[in-house]
């Protein structure tokens, strides 16, 4: 479960202070699929960094699975990211010239998981993310955009995190491949009960989630349940 209360983040450049977040509070239950939406400059990236334990708020509290993460040290935050959070980035961020399997394994390397278990868990994650087994030993730069993003999703899944944080995951993909990636998130959410937070500036993308939190000028504007979300049926969709 995620609970943030009165999160304020202030950036200071010289004498100029800028409030990126001006007191945002919400709660996300386990198994929810939430989209955080807002135009650029709204503070949604700052919010995502705080939710992803990449950054700490200036004030306010952030409870992740009951633990207050808002004032942890850099190395303690690294542990939180490793154990609780899976990231999917807009620009994929796979290691170049490295096999798919090794890319997915990377979080387990930092978790000191024994090598046999690493391979087993990475293969499971890749299957869950919907990548063909034929691609497991390919180098990451030999894959298409959709395949790369599935590898990135597998990497986010492999540590069995309580939260998957996807930052504009379809931003670098065409509409069709983007839909397949969103469909993958929907399936992981429904079938495996993963908590997923999707950061986007496109309503069209946000509409695939169950709940949309709208951020503007550092403040939460609305928080609404979607009763008729867009559903992607992967089986009829074909492969990326």
């Amino acid at each position: 479960m995620i609970e943030i209360k009165d999160i304020i983040k202030t950036y200071t450049t010289g004498d100029i202070k800028f409030d990126a977040l001006k007191g945002v509070s919400f709660k996300i239950e386990d198994g929810e699929f939430v989209a955080i939406m807002g135009p650029s400059g709204s503070g949604k990236s700052t919010l995502m960094h705080i939710l992803g334990a990449l950054d700490t708020p200036t004030s306010g509290s952030y409870y992740l699975d009951g633990q207050d993460v808002s004032s942890l040290s850099e190395d303690a935050l690294a542990d939180i990211r490793r154990d609780h959070i899976g990231f999917v980035f807009q620009s994929f961020n796979l290691l170049p010239r490295t096999t798919v399997l090794r890319n997915v394994m990377l979080p387990l390397v930092y978790d000191q998981v024994p090598s046999e278990e690493r391979i087993k868990r990475s293969e499971e994650a890749l299957k869950a993310a919907g990548l063909d087994e034929a691609h497991f030993s390919h180098l990451s730069n030999q894959l298409s955009g959709g395949q790369i993003q599935r590898v990135a999703i597998a990497r986010a899944l492999v540590n069995n995190p309580s939260l998957i944080l996807a930052d504009e995951p379809t931003g670098n993909l065409d509409t069709k491949t983007g839909e397949i990636v969103l469909g993958t998130f929907q399936r992981l959410n429904e079938e495996q009960g993963k908590t997923i937070i999707l950061i986007t500036h496109e309503l069209d993308v946000a509409e695939h989630a169950d709940r949309i939190i709208l951020i503007r000028d550092g403040e939460m504007v609305s928080d609404s349940k979607q009763h008729e979300k867009k559903i992607i049926n992967l089986n009829s969709g074909g492969k990326a």
Partner: protein, 407 residues
């Protein structure tokens, strides 16, 4: 992160950019190999000079006549030219000075020597049998100048191997042949063992004759040109030198010890002077090589800084998925250490090869010491750590958010 995983990362990072890793390593290879080779050359030169000093004898004190000056004149004929030492002086040294093992007076000069139409100009040394012990002269064939020869003033000669080669041809049988020095015929009775000539004049290009014959037929007077004294051990050479000086000052009735008519030379002094010279050279060569090693280290640092910049996004990603500062800095430090370690390893091999080639072609008998290998490895590992530390720290200190956004 397990050490095995770090090594795995190091391997894939370095092999991803083979040319760059190789060139960077080359800097270290050149640095380490030149340190090894230069130290080997320095040590080789030192032992070569020491052995050529030792080849003229051991614990030697040489007494030579002083400067000859005409009465009231300021024209000097050069050191050793004066006729001030006699057989009586040498007998007195032998009789009165303790801690002497052996001593031998000699009358030497350069003469044109002929034999069966061949001729050469060489050093002719008139001496006594003890000369063999004082100057480490070994006889290969025949015999050395004997006591009877000295007493009877026999016209016999012992040739150095080079002189034998010059007069009779390489390796020819010389014993029983006759050579002519200053219109006097000498019969060859022996040939000495080659010492390998280098340094202070070749010990192999010499002719030994009885001292009495040299005085009678060659120099025509009663003076000697050198008295070689070997002390009992290395510690007593200085004492022997002092004793000889005071004895001869007394015998020659010289009151001012600052203007003797002879001079003494201690082999230990020559050896230590030569060794300090070669030591300076070794330090000089070593520091030039050391500079190239530092330049190699800077090359490593340069490459690592470039790598950190290039892989900023990767560092950001690694941090996002749970890498701690320590994991990142270890990874980059290990890359630098791996480069210097393998560079050092190849450098040791190359340096050893260089000194082997120098020895093989007979330029110098080089010695690669274990010390220099250990030193080179230690230095290269240290360079890896020193020059890799800063880039690794920089990588570890990157903020994951900025690193992920880096273009």
């Amino acid at each position: 992160m397990h050490i095995f995983d770090i090594l795995n990362e190091t391997y894939s990072a370095l092999s991803a950019n083979k040319v760059r890793s190789g060139l960077t390593m080359l800097g270290i290879v050149i640095g380490i190999s030149s340190v090894i080779a230069m130290l080997a050359i320095g040590q080789g030169a030192q032992s070569s000079i020491q052995s050529s000093i030792q080849s003229i004898g051991s614990n030697l004190v040489l007494v030579t006549p002083g400067v000859q000056r005409g009465p009231g004149a300021f024209v000097s004929a050069g050191r050793g030219s004066a006729k001030s030492l006699t057989i009586a002086d040498s007998d007195a040294i032998k009789a009165q000075i303790s801690s002497i093992k052996n001593m031998a007076p000699e009358v030497s000069g350069r003469y044109q020597v002929t034999a069966r139409g061949q001729n050469t100009n060489t050093q002719v040394v008139g001496t006594i049998p003890d000369y063999q012990n004082v100057r480490n002269v070994q006889v290969a064939e025949g015999s050395f100048v004997s006591t009877q020869n000295v007493q009877g003033g026999s016209k016999v000669a012992v040739l150095g191997p080079t002189t034998r080669d010059d007069l009779f041809g390489v390796g020819a049988e010389a014993i029983g042949q006759t050579i002519r020095i200053k219109q006097v015929d000498f019969k060859v009775v022996g040939v000495t063992v080659a010492k390998g000539g280098s340094g202070f004049g070749s010990q192999d290009d010499m002719i030994f004759i009885p001292i009495s014959a040299a005085q009678r037929y060659l120099s025509g007077d009663q003076y000697v040109t050198t008295i070689s004294v070997s002390a009992q051990d290395a510690n007593s050479t200085t004492q022997v030198q002092q004793d000889i000086t005071s004895l001869l000052l007394d015998r020659h009735h010289i009151k001012d010890p600052n203007s003797p008519d002879f001079s003494t030379l201690n082999q230990a002094d020559i050896a230590s002077a030569a060794s300090s010279i070669t030591q300076i050279f070794t330090i000089l060569l070593g520091s030039v090589a050391g500079i190239s090693l530092v330049v190699g280290g800077i090359g490593i640092m340069n490459m690592m800084l470039t790598t950190v910049t290039e892989r900023t996004r990767e560092i950001g990603l690694r941090k996002a998925i749970g890498a701690k500062r320590r994991d990142i800095s270890l990874q980059f430090l290990m890359e630098a250490i791996a480069l210097t370690f393998f560079g050092g390893f190849l450098g040791v091999i190359l340096g050893w090869l260089v000194s082997f080639v120098i020895t093989y072609f007979g330029i110098l008998q080089t010695q690669v010491s274990l010390f220099s290998v250990v030193l080179a490895f230690g230095v290269s590992a240290a360079i890896g750590i020193i020059f890799g530390y800063y880039p690794a720290r920089r990588a570890a200190a990157l903020n994951p958010i900025d690193a992920l956004r880096y273009e």
